[in-house]
């Protein structure tokens, strides 16, 4: 059964169309992430699902019931806001019971529910504090608590972690994941952090300028992005895009980098559908699919000579900023493999993971 269905949705503010023809559905219990750069319409879409904004045209269904004209409170949803939107004058407990009060749930039941949720989120000791007396992480937890007391059909999150610092963000990310595993509610989660989307979601909807670019599992999106935007948006450091040409040789198809030394980088057989020799392509390689060539690692046929401009050790991995044929290439290598700045080294490319894009449509070529 599909828990959320969005059909042909459009939304305009006056002249400006901020959402164009969105189609999306989420199965029961799924965790959907909406990602995209700022201003792409993620929050607007979420608000429409919540009933906080009206649609211009199209349908929103929750558990197969058309809810276009239902007030937020009648949609049986819960939402967590980026700013947490905790009621500043109420204690944590009152924040959590407010919704139940509005729905006239008996006091005793309210109490039980709060106790249960507080237990789940380990916020029992905070119940009598005001939001201003909480740390960022605690506020985040309370915001989730407020959503959890509802037991709704649908959870909506609008960038719930973006106000936290890096370490806390990673922690809370895991907690949300655990929680979702435990509670199993259908969830729509807005973020502009692709790592969050990757780690949390069962399916990711990548949006750009109000248009849904791709809606698929994290693995598919990461490995088989539908177009250059999706490929570039997902992954950090970002995918390298090199202008290249397709060449055909005895060994099959390959590419040569424009302006380079003509080395042919052979493509695996399953990447060559739809290709024609001489065709211009954008050759996309993710940083982690480069590796310095080591004598002992055996040979890889796809190699590229690069000049190392800058070496950035980040701890677990080291980032190399390099140039090849005047184009920038970022590679991510093991710290122990790191060359020196100014060196020219050979990088091996894991050709089974590369992507080719059509330079004009920017769509991914090859299956």
């Amino acid at each position: 059964m599909s828990s959320l269905t969005i059909k042909d949705l459009r939304k305009s503010y006056g002249e400006v169309e901020v959402l164009t023809d969105i189609n999306l559905e989420a199965d029961s219990g799924e965790f959907i992430a909406l990602v995209g750069p700022s201003g792409c319409g993620k929050s607007t879409l979420l608000s429409i699902i919540a009933g906080l904004e009206s649609v211009t045209s199209g349908e929103v269904k929750i558990e197969d019931r058309l809810v276009n004209n239902d007030a937020p409170k009648d949609r049986d949803i819960a939402m967590v806001f980026q700013s947490y939107a905790l009621y500043p004058t109420m204690t944590v407990r009152e924040n959590m019971t407010f919704g139940m009060e509005c729905r006239n749930i008996p006091k005793a039941e309210q109490k039980d529910t709060v106790a249960r949720v507080a237990d789940l989120l380990q916020i029992g000791p905070l119940l009598d504090r005001k939001p201003s007396q909480l740390s960022g992480g605690q506020r985040q937890r309370v915001a989730m608590g407020r959503a959890l007391v509802r037991d709704p059909k649908l959870f909506l999150f609008d960038e719930p972690l973006s106000n936290l610092d890096a370490k806390l963000r990673i922690e809370m990310r895991s907690e949300i994941k655990k929680l979702h595993n435990r509670v199993g509610k259908t969830t729509v989660y807005v973020t502009h952090d692709q790592v969050e989307a990757m780690t949390l979601a069962s399916r990711i909807a990548v949006m750009f300028k109000g248009v849904l670019q791709q809606y698929d599992t994290p693995k598919e999106i990461y490995e088989r992005p539908r177009n250059k935007f999706v490929a570039g948006f997902m992954g950090s450091p970002t995918m390298n895009f090199l202008n290249a040409k397709v060449v055909q040789s005895d060994a099959g198809f390959g590419v040569t980098i424009d302006g380079g030394d003509g080395t042919i980088l052979p493509l695996p057989a399953d990447h060559t559908a739809n290709l024609a020799a001489g065709q211009s392509v954008i050759f996309g390689v993710r940083p982690e699919h480069f590796n310095p060539v080591h004598a002992h690692r055996g040979d890889t046929s796809a190699r590229m000579k690069v000049l190392v401009d800058m070496v950035e050790p980040t701890g677990a991995e080291t980032i190399l900023m390099t140039t090849v044929a005047g184009q920038d290439v970022v590679a991510s290598v093991e710290p122990d493999d790191a060359p020196k700045e100014g060196e020219t080294i050979e990088l091996a490319i894991n050709m089974s993971k590369v992507c080719l894009f059509d330079p004009s449509t920017e769509l991914r070529l090859s299956a």
Binding site: L52, V55, N68, N69
Partner: protein, 310 residues
């Protein structure tokens, strides 16, 4: 936030739902009615009366713009109208300047801040009538400072601005400033407090002296506060009546007459309601000189704001 506007394809919203969506408008309706009656109704009534033959009592007979011509033919009115602009400008600028100086002084992490602030703010609680009366005592050579100086033996002392037709208006300005500069101080001070401390640090590192930091960095940063204060003060300036009546009664001669006094006199003392209404309309016109640019400015401001979020 958007009240649902039911659209054609999906207009199955229940009646109750739609009524609930109209709650804000319904709650606001009485105010809209009152505000409309008060602002628009009274203004239109005044404009209409100003074009009528009303004398002792309002009388709807149409006459035309004659009363405006008479009004502008009267020296008292031209002086009053001119005074409005001179007084308004000096009063606003002076209060802002004094308020700024006070706010900057208090901002120097002084002790007993609340006491200083209260001292400068309390005149706002004093009515214009009382303010005018007390300052008349102080300014009048027979009772005030000059008299005190004479009694102290300094017979040559002269402080008779209030009786000098060229200087009396400045007495009104000073008194108005006394009343309002605390208000400006309060807002500007709070504005100063809201300025990012890093800005000051950055300017210090840039090598700017404290006066320069205030002049070039801090005060320009809080210019929206200056606008807000200006609007509130202008509103006072345009409505000024009691202050002048109590302080100088518009004199010497007509030197300190302001439009509100003329309106009141024409309408009530002299039984020329039509001409008084014409004068009131002219006050509204003066107001437009201020409000129209302000409205344009804020519209531009919000458009810019919107553009930035977009």
């Amino acid at each position: 936030m958007q009240a649902h506007t039911p659209n054609s394809q999906t207009s199955q919203a229940s009646l109750g739902q739609r009524l609930a969506n109209l709650t804000p408008q319904m709650v606001l309706a009485p105010t809209i009615f009152l505000a409309f009656a008060y602002v628009v109704g009274f203004s239109i009534w005044t404009i209409w009366i100003s074009l009528s033959t009303s004398t002792l009592l309002p009388d709807p007979t149409y006459q035309g713009f004659e009363e405006y011509a008479k009004l502008w033919g009267s020296k008292r009115w031209t002086v009053a109208y001119q005074n409005l602009f001179v007084f308004g400008a000096l009063y606003v600028v002076g209060s802002l300047a004094a308020g700024t100086v006070l706010a900057v002084l208090i901002d120097q992490r002084v002790k007993f801040e609340a006491v200083w602030r209260t001292i400068y703010l309390y005149p706002l609680a004093i009515s214009f009538i009382v303010t005018g009366t007390v300052w008349r005592w102080i300014f009048h050579p027979n009772t005030g400072v000059e008299r005190a100086l004479h009694d102290m033996g300094w017979l040559a002392a002269k402080f008779d601005w209030i009786t000098d037709r060229d200087l009396a208006l400045y007495v009104v300005v000073i008194t108005g400033m006394w009343h309002a500069s605390g208000f400006a101080m309060a807002l500007i001070l709070a504005g100063l407090r809201s300025v990012d401390g890093d800005l000051v640090k950055a300017a210090q590192i840039d090598g700017a002296s404290m006066p320069r930091i205030y002049r070039k960095v801090v005060l320009p940063t809080i210019w929206p506060i200056f606008i807000a204060v200006t609007v509130v003060l202008l509103q006072f300036a345009i409505k000024t009546y009691d202050l002048v009546v109590a302080l100088t009664q518009g004199g010497p001669g007509v030197a300190t007459t302001v439009p509100a006094i003329v309106v009141y006199d024409l309408m009530f003392q002299r039984g020329q309601i039509a001409q008084g209404a014409a004068a009131a309309v002219m006050i509204l016109v003066a107001l437009a000189f201020v409000l129209v640019p302000y409205a344009l400015w804020s519209a531009w401001q919000s458009r810019k704001e919107g553009a930035r979020h977009g």
